[in-house]
């Protein structure tokens, strides 16, 4: 698989505090790449530098061979960005939001198709302020895909969603990957990373401290002699919850 995102020695410093400390990694075309880490690890700052909305202090980022720092405008045409907490202007209808985002790329689209793909077709004429959290996330994803980007960035896409909405979003991410779009996401939920990501980078204090497939990372840990203190249950409390309440979306 070819490399589509190439990050080299990327650094960001705020008032003598190094938030991102010279990190390097490659993202392969078509994979789902996860960046994990505790709050303040530098995940969001890393994403924002690659997305060309935050200046790069030193180092470089290339997307599809384009230098982000030198040609930010060219990069914007090939990336889609899903922010942490998507917001839209009140009194906008869903179809208008998608029309507007497509127009930002100079493109004319039929919003119906996209709304269909995120299960919001029947809400086409609803105002955005009447959406639930999960629906807003899905609209936001649709808005980031109006121009068929090559790389799709998602910053903590499932934070604040209920288990049903979270599972629905996982399916959505997989269907985006199936279209050949490379996905780079950050998350706090390790279960999510395990389900979705082909490879994950674990960040702490501005550094990448591990980078591999989830399976390999677990293998490496076990090889170091790690043993869980408790007997591992065959099901988790979340499995119970989903079993009892079902998988269908509530919003």
């Amino acid at each position: 698989m070819s490399v589509i995102v190439k990050v080299k020695d990327l650094t960001k410093t705020y008032d003598d505090k190094t938030v991102v400390n010279g990190i390097s990694f490659d993202v392969k075309k078509g994979e789902v790449f996860g960046i994990l880490g505790p709050n303040g690890a530098g995940k969001t700052t890393t994403l924002e530098m690659i997305e060309a909305i935050r200046p790069i202090d030193s180092g470089s980022a290339h997307i599809n061979g384009i230098d982000v720092a030198k040609q930010p405008q060219a990069v914007r045409y090939i990336i889609g960005v899903q922010p942490q907490s998507p917001a839209f202007q009140d009194k906008s209808k869903l179809k208008e939001i998608l029309t507007m985002f497509a127009a930002a790329y100079g493109e004319k689209i039929d919003p119906k198709d996209l709304l269909q793909s995120v299960d919001l077709l029947e809400k086409a004429d609803t105002y955005v302020e009447n959406l639930s959290g999960g629906q807003r996330q899905r609209l936001s994803i649709a808005a980031s895909l109006v121009h068929n980007p090559k790389v799709f960035f998602m910053d903590e896409p499932t934070t604040g969603l209920d288990p049903q909405a979270r599972r629905n979003l996982w399916d959505l991410v997989k269907s985006i990957q199936a279209k050949g779009i490379t996905v780079i996401l950050t998350t706090h939920y390790l279960e999510e990373a395990e389900v979705l990501c082909d490879r994950v980078a674990i960040m702490d204090e501005g550094n990448i401290i591990a980078l591999d497939t989830p399976k390999n990372l677990i293998k490496q840990l076990l090889a170091r002699g790690f043993k869980k203190k408790h007997h591992v249950e065959q099901a988790s409390l979340e499995d119970v919850f989903i079993d009892l309440t079902g998988k269908h979306l509530r919003d």
């Binding site: 997305e51 060309a52 909305i53 405008q73 914007r76 045409y77 990336i79 960005v81 922010p83 942490q84 907490s85 998507p86 917001a87 839209f88 202007q89 009140d90 009194k91 906008s92 208008e96 029309t99 507007m100 985002f101 127009a103 930002a104 790329y105 100079g106 493109e107 004319k108 105002y127």
Partner: protein
């Protein structure tokens, strides 16, 4: 290029649509200036003729005295307050400037004495801060007495003066009011609107999100100017129609010039709002700065009272504020019927301001 225009057009169209769905926005842009129009229109509705608020305290029973009071009450120059019957009450009201003067007719006023014709002396009481009104009132009363005197004692009058109207239409107070209120409405939608909206959009991360798309700052600016112009023209059209129907405003100039000049005005003033709102990171930065810039401008540019009432040096300074040519231009077009050539100084000044303001707005704009 065509794609770029589609971008601008779509953003402008959806901006305008959102506005017309938002009742609060409509209230502040359309209804709020109308309320001001009614308040200031009611205050300035009069023809501008001079009149005095007076109390007449008549202590005399003679027919001459009674006739004098009746005439004074019927005339237009004196507005007689009937509720006041004693000098003390009148003094109290004069203290609060509710009355300009009190006219006292003494008990012997109008009595026929040895001379075989009635005579008497009335007194005009006034407070020191109303000296000018009192003097004007005294000379008006003196003139009336001169006419009465002539009836009893005939005299030759070698020198006289008569007044002759120039027959020219002069500006009524409402004509000044209208231009000022249009200026005020443009400030409202051009500055207070964006200054509230942009920091809020930044707070919600809506602008930052747009920044991840290829949308250019100029495209965003042009789209906003377009939608705001449509809204502004509509708001001013409603003010105009109301003024014509309710306050008898006479439109003397060309409608095309009026609309084009209003569009230019909205463009320039909206630039101020874009610069402040685009620069400010949050409301705490935006509100004080916009107040600092707009409030002095509102008062100095002749929004609520004409600039010719200001001291000379202040007139010279305020002449160059961006709002001044807006108000002057609208007054020249609407009430003086001036054409495009006549308002070139105003158009020129606005054009210079447009370059300066938009240069700053582009430089200081921040997406977050």
């Amino acid at each position: 290029m065509q794609k770029s225009l589609y971008t601008v057009w779509t953003f402008a169209r959806l901006n305008a649509k959102r506005f017309f769905r938002d009742r609060l926005a409509i209230f502040f842009t359309v209804i709020f200036p109308l309320i001001f129009l009614f308040i200031f229109g009611a205050i300035n509705r009069g023809s501008g003729a001079v009149s005095f608020n007076v109390a007449i305290i008549n202590q005399s029973q003679t027919t001459v005295a009674q006739e004098f009071v009746a005439q004074a009450e019927a005339g237009k120059i004196l507005k007689v307050t009937n509720s006041v019957t004693t000098l003390d009450e009148a003094k109290e009201k004069m203290k609060r400037s509710e009355l300009d003067a009190a006219i006292v007719l003494p008990a012997d006023f109008g009595e026929i004495k040895n001379d075989q014709y009635p005579s008497g002396q009335l007194t005009v009481y006034y407070s020191p801060n109303n000296e000018q009104s009192a003097q004007a009132l005294t000379s008006i009363l003196q003139e009336q007495f001169n006419q009465m005197n002539a009836k009893y004692v005939s005299t030759d009058v070698p020198f006289t003066v008569t007044a002759q109207s120039t027959q020219q239409e002069s500006l009524s107070r409402f004509d000044y009011t209208f231009a000022g209120l249009v200026g005020f409405a443009i400030i409202g939608l051009g500055v207070f609107g964006p200054v509230n909206v942009f920091p809020e959009l930044k707070k919600q991360g809506i602008l930052r999100r747009l920044h991840t798309t290829p949308l250019r700052v100029w495209q965003y600016f042009v789209a906003n100017v377009m939608s705001q112009s449509v809204i502004g023209i509509l708001s001013i059209a409603i003010m105009f129609v109301t003024s014509v129907i309710v306050f008898d405003l006479h439109m003397k100039g060309s409608y095309i010039t009026f609309v084009l000049f209003t569009l230019l005005s909205i463009f320039v003033i909206y630039g101020i709002g874009l610069a402040i709102g685009g620069w400010a990171k949050n409301e705490r930065q935006a509100a004080p700065l916009s107040n600092l810039i707009t409030f002095p401008m509102i008062f100095l540019a002749g929004t609520f009272f004409p600039r010719f009432l200001m001291p000379e040096w202040l007139q010279k300074v305020s002449e160059y504020l961006p709002l001044t040519p807006v108000i002057d231009g609208i007054r020249l077009i609407v009430t003086e019927g001036k054409g495009f050539i006549d308002i070139l100084p105003q158009v020129g000044l606005l054009a210079i301001w447009a370059v300066v303001i938009y240069f700053i707005a582009f430089r200081v704009f921040r997406w977050e």
